[in-house]
């Protein structure tokens, strides 16, 4: 029987620390990406070939995309690693999550909702279908934006964006800014989580109803959704950072 669980399923625990299937997927993605980067990109050649070509096209594309909001190539190159890591991490996590063979490896456990019934628990589940992952990235994104803003324009000017005593309207706007920072974390995390979790549920249900051929277009749709969600997350972080590094007038 299939059970759809919003929370990630615990596979085992280490010293009381629960290891969930989304965390396992996170480790797998990190390991795969580290392996790829060390193998293919450690010593890039001046005349590119193979994987380096693909990576360079992606780097140039993202840098071009970042140049607009930041206004200069130097700034774009400075903040590129952070934005690119967010994008790649989310994208590969999303795509790994829909690999059929990854989702099919697992164990049967007794259901918590229906005691006495056995349910299938996969070892790997898309990281973004766990709110912990999306919230972690959202918090990192928002805090990194604050730190980058402080380092770019200085602490007092950055704080001045939130606590302004020049007038009641400015003061109120400052409070709204603080609320919007918290809202950013919520919107970031729930948007990504909602999309990827809904995709997982959709694929599970379609696969359960018609296991052959019919899930194919949905898999493609989920690949596209995975890409779009990674892009949205990275682009929003980029826009917030580009706003944070300029002074308020």
């Amino acid at each position: 029987m299939i059970e759809i669980s919003i929370a990630a399923e615990k596979i085992f625990s280490v010293f009381g620390f629960p290891i969930t299937n989304t965390l396992l997927m996170g480790w797998l993605v990190v390991a795969a990406l580290i392996f790829m980067s060390v193998i293919f990109l450690r010593r890039p050649a001046l005349i590119p070939a193979g994987v380096q070509n693909v990576f360079e096209v992606a780097v140039e594309g993202v840098l071009g995309l970042m140049e607009g909001p930041f206004g200069s190539k130097q700034k774009a190159e400075k903040y590129f690693p952070f934005i690119a890591t967010i994008f790649i991490f989310i994208l590969i996590s999303n795509w790994f999550g829909i690999f059929p063979f990854l989702g099919s490896a697992g164990i049967y456990e007794e259901s918590h909702a229906y005691p006495g019934e056995e349910v299938f628990v996969p070892f790997f589940r898309s990281s973004a279908s766990d709110l912990n992952f999306t919230l972690a990235l959202a918090i990192i994104s928002v805090f990194a934006t604050q730190l980058i803003g402080i380092s770019a324009i200085g602490l007092s000017k950055h704080i001045g964006k939130y606590f302004s005593f020049r007038g009641p309207i400015q003061f109120f706007v400052g409070i709204l800014e603080i609320v919007s920072e918290i809202a950013k974390m919520i919107s970031f995390s729930f948007r990504l989580f909602g999309n990827i979790f809904a995709g997982e549920v959709l694929l599970i249900i379609i696969g359960f109803l018609v296991p052959v051929f019919v899930p194919l277009p949905f898999l493609m749709l989920e690949m596209f959704v995975g890409f779009i969600q990674a892009l949205v997350f990275a682009m929003l972080t980029l826009v917030f950072m580009s706003i944070a590094v300029v002074e308020h007038h």
Partner: protein
């Protein structure tokens, strides 16, 4: 959540070390090389233009020098030709003169020889006529006859 944040942190630092820095550094190196290449190309084009104009000037100079050389060679050739002709005329005249002198000499020798032979012949003829020994015929008489013969 903390574990996922740590995952992100590890990935960020590994990417920074093994992917972003090498790739961005390499892109910068390549940009620099392309910029250098363009500058060198412009420099080379400038030098090529200079070399072209210098080449044109050298060719022009060489042309005028060669024309001068040809003119000088022509006048020298004509002078030499005239000298050779004069020399040849002189030599031919000498050869003709020498030939004439030799012919005259030959003629004189031939005439002398003929005269001697004729005298001998006449003496023999007269001896036959008078039936006397040729040694006894008066030489003076023979000479006289010969002189008469020459006048005829």
């Amino acid at each position: 959540m903390l574990a996922q944040a740590v995952n992100f942190g590890i990935l960020f630092f590994v990417f920074l070390k093994f992917a972003y820095r090498p790739i961005l550094g390499m892109l910068e190196t390549r940009r620099e090389k392309i910029r250098e290449g363009i500058l060198m190309r412009e420099e080379a084009e400038k030098k090529l233009k200079e070399a072209d104009s210098e080449k044109g000037a050298i060719i022009k100079k060489a042309e005028s020098e060669s024309l001068g050389l040809i003119a000088r060679a022509e006048s020298l050739g004509k002078k030499k030709e005239a000298e050779i002709l004069t020399e040849a005329v002189k030599k031919s005249e000498e050869v003709i003169r020498d030939g004439k002198r030799r012919v005259e000499e030959e003629k004189r020798i031939a005439a002398e020889s003929f005269s001697k032979e004729a005298a001998e012949l006449v003496r023999l003829a007269v001896a036959k006529v008078v039936e006397r020994s040729p040694e006894k015929i008066d030489g003076e008489l023979v000479d006289k006859a010969l002189r008469e013969l020459e006048t005829v």
